[in-house]
């Protein structure tokens, strides 16, 4: 018996849930700038989230997927991406989209049931939210293939949930990313739940990162509530991708602090103690305590920042609520580059039906 393969997965953490430094910090994290920036962005994301849920509860928004608990993941990754890199998100990445430059009002538009929430100029070549689980991973590989074919120095980033790791798409994506050495970084937001199904029922494997081993690519686990760990891993993975050194899978271990979406009621399946443990580890408090300890962030900063972000968000909400709906014709106008004749007729019919309704 010979050993024909050996592989392993590491776990990285710098700042633990008691906000203690457990590994020597990298240079950039020895000064306030980046960490404070991450903190500020996370706060906006959390506030935006609360606002969106409130809007949904009052019938002003559709079903909404909270990002509470994955702010660190989203903010750090999106911050490290270059403009010309491509983001291929799933449906829980508003915070990424915000950092990528989408207006908060545009993000609300999406969750308000309006396709224009996918057509922000700031999205450039980024993909829109992806609802069919794990399919985005293959789109990312296609984008990365195009980048490779054209010899560009860009990275593609795809993010998915722990549940999504069970779907063939994800594993096919890892495999082709490996064999074609594609410039792509896969991030698992392992928030421990796929709606009501706990992580343990998705796979018996102790880590999700080890799925990389199947594909012969780099895989690692990081503390998804620790911005420093995230930054270190993601930065390196992005750089490798841009330099043509191949793909990376990063499992970011987090916890879903909210219901799955506003259509869900997690108390049906989740013990309050589990949720409490999640809150003990969450990224914002952890970083705030650390920043406080370093003297980089004070109560007064907090108050000011909360005010600033509230105003920002309220503006976005106003803008969202003031956006008139798309015309009925929009159901047809983007289906094909050139609308077939029969659909032109249906388009006319739809318009006159809505005019009739409006006038009656």
């Amino acid at each position: 018996m010979n050993i024909s393969y050996e592989g392993s997965i590491s776990f990285t953490q710098f700042i633990n849930e008691q906000s203690e430094v457990v590994n020597p910090l990298p240079e950039w994290a020895l000064v306030d700038k980046v960490l404070v920036h991450y903190y500020q962005q996370m706060v906006i994301a959390r506030q935006f989230d609360n606002k969106a849920i409130a809007l949904q509860r009052t019938g002003q928004l559709g079903t909404y997927a909270s990002s509470a608990g994955c702010e660190a993941i989203d903010i750090v990754i999106a911050s490290l991406m270059h403009k010309e890199d491509v983001l291929v998100p799933y449906y829980r990445n508003h915070a990424m989209q915000m950092v990528r430059g989408m207006k908060l009002s545009e993000i609300l538009l999406y969750w308000g049931g309006d396709e224009r929430g996918n057509s922000s100029p700031a999205q450039r070549e980024d993909f829109p939210n992806c609802v069919p689980i794990a399919t985005q991973c293959l789109h990312a590989c296609g984008i990365a293939s195009a980048i490779k074919i054209r010899n560009q120095q860009r990275a593609t980033v795809s993010i998915l949930g722990d549940g999504a790791t069970s779907k063939g798409d994800f594993m096919e994506a890892l495999n082709v990313a490996g064999v074609w050495q594609l410039p792509v970084v896969f991030i698992i937001n392992n928030n421990q739940w796929a709606i009501s199904v706990p992580r343990a029922l998705q796979s018996i494997a102790p880590t999700l990162a080890q799925k990389a081993l199947a594909a012969g690519i780099r895989g690692e686990q990081v503390d998804g509530n620790d911005v420093v760990a995230l930054h270190q891993s993601v930065e390196q993975a992005l750089q490798r991708a841009r330099e043509g050194k191949g793909p990376t899978l990063i499992e970011a271990v987090s916890y879903r602090l909210s219901d799955h979406t506003t259509a869900d009621d997690a108390t049906r399946y989740r013990h309050p103690d589990a949720l409490k443990m999640g809150w003990d580890k969450e990224p914002i408090k952890r970083l705030r305590n650390y920043l406080h300890g370093q003297g980089w962030w004070h109560e007064s900063d907090e108050t000011q920042w909360l005010q600033h972000s509230s105003a920002l968000i309220q503006d976005a909400v106003d803008q969202y609520l003031d956006t008139p709906p798309q015309p009925v014709s929009s159901m047809f106008d983007y289906l094909y580059a050139e609308l077939p004749l029969q659909l032109k007729k249906q388009r006319e019919a739809a318009i006159s039906r809505s005019e009739k309704e409006a006038s009656s």
Binding site: G62, T63, Y91, G112, G113, D114, E115, V131, P132, I133, A134, G163, A164, S166, K167, G168, A194, I195, S196, V197, L201, Q202, S203, A263, D264, R268, Y269, P325, Q326, V328, S330, M331, F332, L335, Q342, L343, Q346, A350, R353, S354
Partner: protein
């Protein structure tokens, strides 16, 4: 649920699932969130508590896997009831449905079979996100070897689902989620089944046949009532089983009325409505006293929910179509 108080469709489905699991140990339920959570629409609530995790399985997140597993289970003589959380997520399972579930009996000359039910909520109107509102029953109706069933009331949901579970072949059971909770009926939990190859005539009339199914039955019946006030007597047919289609009931009705409107939520192109119109054009041309009229979804992608009501067929469209058909001479 005692069966004595009026219940809604999703409760009737839950009742039928309980009935089937109680009466046949081979019946099992699997899918995403069907266990502890009782299903995102609560259709499987209580099953895990009553029948245990060996028979009510929360699966990993992979519809292709759910279908493939179910086929293996069914070939072993279990009767799996697999839930696909929304019909928009059934596509990963297509290969297993088309290439295996529908063919296992034929392929093995009856040595193996596939007594499988795939349940999926379908259709729009609940302001859901993208992919949660489609009506793609025609894709499945055309697959030889499948049965495709759509209930339109709590009672029919109960009887049709029990039949589907008892049926020795694979059944795609599509649930119009818009009317999951919109109508209550007394549903006796007596195990009575309804046939899987028969249309239901919900209202008799001599002037015009309104042929519909699923969630559009509501609007169709409404239209029939309103038309009756104007003296037009509609016969309302609930197709109920998309495959095999009960041509006889449809032909007989149009044979009597000579006029016909087909109403569906799905886009029109290559749909079950196309097939019905085609049957009439091939086999009942001389009966037709007016062109067939069709009311349905536009042949475009279901818009995000802010415009979905502009997409979905409404009662007044049915009335208009019926009147135009009546005026024709």
């Amino acid at each position: 649920m005692s069966g004595q108080e009026a219940i809604c469709m999703v409760e009737a489905i839950n009742l039928a699932l309980h009935h089937a699991m109680r009466n046949d140990n081979d019946v099992i339920v699997l899918g995403e969130d069907v266990g502890t959570n009782g299903g995102v629409f609560r259709a499987t609530v209580g099953l895990k508590e009553n029948f245990g995790i060996k028979r009510v399985m929360d699966t990993p997140l992979a519809e292709n896997m759910i279908a493939g597993l179910s086929i293996g289970m069914a070939a072993q003589g279990l009767k799996p009831i697999a839930e696909i959380q929304f019909m928009g997520f059934i596509f990963p399972a297509m290969e297993h449905i088309v290439c295996h579930a529908a063919r296992l009996r034929n392929r093995t000359r009856g040595r193996l079979s596939c007594p499988l039910v795939i349940r999926a909520p379908y259709g729009g109107g609940i302001h859901a996100p993208e992919h949660h509102s489609e009506s793609t029953e025609a894709i499945f109706a055309q697959i030889p070897g499948l049965r495709v069933v759509i209930p339109s009331s709590p009672q029919r949901a109960y009887g049709l689902l029990l039949s589907a579970i008892q049926n020795p072949d694979p059944v795609i059971f599509l649930e119009p989620k818009r009317i999951y909770r919109s109508q209550n009926q007394i549903v006796e939990d007596n195990g009575h089944t309804l046939p899987l190859d028969t249309c239901f005539t919900l209202r008799e009339g001599n002037d015009i046949s309104l042929i519909s199914w699923g969630s559009m039955i509501k609007e169709t019946l409404e239209a029939a009532s309103l038309l009756a006030e104007e003296g037009i007597q509609c016969e309302v047919i609930d197709v109920a089983t998309m495959n095999p289609l009960d041509r006889e009931t449809i032909l007989a009705s149009v044979g009597k009325t000579g006029r016909c409107v087909i109403i569906q939520e799905a886009p029109l192109n290559c749909s079950v409505g196309s097939e019905i119109a085609s049957i009439l054009a091939c086999e009942a041309l001389l009966d037709l006293r007016a062109p067939i009229a069709r009311v349905g979804g536009y042949d475009t992608v279901m818009p995000y929910f802010r415009l979905e009501n502009q997409y979905m067929p409404q009662t007044d469209q049915i009335i208009d179509a019926a009147k135009r058909t009546m005026e024709f001479d």
